[in-house]
Subunit: 208 residues, 2 copies
């Protein structure tokens, strides 16, 4: 019997990470997000900052996906980036094989699709995302609404681009997900309290 | 205190109607779908078939929205169609003011937006929609997959066009909804059993 895997894709600022974390707690399963970067860094011997720069953004130009080169023999700066993506995908697959879990980001819905995961997309209205971003801003970091909007657009664009390297389905297109939830106006705890039974029911229907 | 209004928009063949009906039963609230056509027909004195042909398709050409003419004085065939839409919108607003309810289709999320409704979008994979259409086909009506796909595309296109007459938000664009649920692989009863508490929690958060 395969595991219960929940993948969470999300718009920047929508609270998807919090939904994923709380959902994992509520379901009593493992939660993977930044942990994936650490694992890739350990496996590859590369710095976490470097991995993080690729982890959800992909490479800086479209490039035929070949993994023939090792890190050592890479002829172009794009090759090691592709290797990082490949390593990350391998780790995601290993995690999904290990046991029930929630995986946030990194196009996991596509990467672990053979496990028949439940794919959740989390989004919100712009105003609600601005408020969330502002609430979690580091002290002293006072970005204007327009600067925050630009950052949100940039991060989401990177995520969409990362996805486009791995699959034809479009990032954020509801067709690729089982459920798309707008967090605007929700209390996160109440939202997850009602999401968890739905996810459980879904897996029961799948015989998991 | 305003009422708990749930609007259900749906792709043709996704089972949105069933979700709406079961949700209304589960929440113990009124359910409106075909009933709206009957009401418009009674109010306007026009045939139900005529109302049905406009009810979710809108008029046959884009036309400035003016309701200055009465049925009797309409100079163009588009005017009575616009009157039917206007009458339908008025009835939707009246229903939403009357009490808690589920309204299926007819761009109700936009029409009754002042009631702060919970807006649900129901969709499914093409294969799953084909199977559902086939299961509910009238005896003797044996459409090919391609014919069914064309019908699905046509109905959805009409719904999108109807929406475009009333609002700038795009039909099926998740941003316009609180929740988008993919019915593929679900047992409808199990799905609604887990949707109902979520909708209840949403209204509680809104103080309804």
């Amino acid at each position: 019997m395969s595991h219960r895997i929940i993948t969470v894709s999300r718009e920047f600022g929508s609270g998807g990470r919090e939904v994923g974390k709380r959902l994992a707690e509520s379901l009593g399963v493992a939660y993977y997000d930044r942990e994936i970067i650490t694992a890739v860094a350990e496996k590859s011997g590369l710095a976490e900052e470097y991995i993080a720069s690729i982890s959800e953004r992909g490479v800086n130009a479209y490039y035929p996906i070949t993994f023939g080169h090792t890190f050592a023999y890479s002829a172009s700066p794009i090759d090691p980036q592709m290797e990082v993506m490949a390593e990350q995908n391998k780790i995601l697959k290993d995690l999904a094989k290990k046991g029930d879990c929630v995986i946030v980001g990194r196009c996991a819905d596509t990467v672990v699709r053979e496990e028949n995961p439940f794919n959740l997309f989390v989004y919100a209205d712009v105003q609600s995302k601005l408020e969330r971003c502002r609430a979690r801003q580091a002290q002293g970091e006072a970005l204007s609404d327009n600067e925050l909007k630009r950052r949100m657009a940039k991060v989401d664009k990177d995520r969409a681009r990362y996805r486009s390297l791995l699959t034809d389905t479009r990032w954020g297109d509801k067709a690729a997900y089982h459920l798309c939830v707008n967090t605007t106006g929700w209390d996160m705890r109440a939202l997850v309290d009602s999401l968890a039974p739905m996810v459980r029911a879904w897996f029961e229907k799948q015989g998991k």
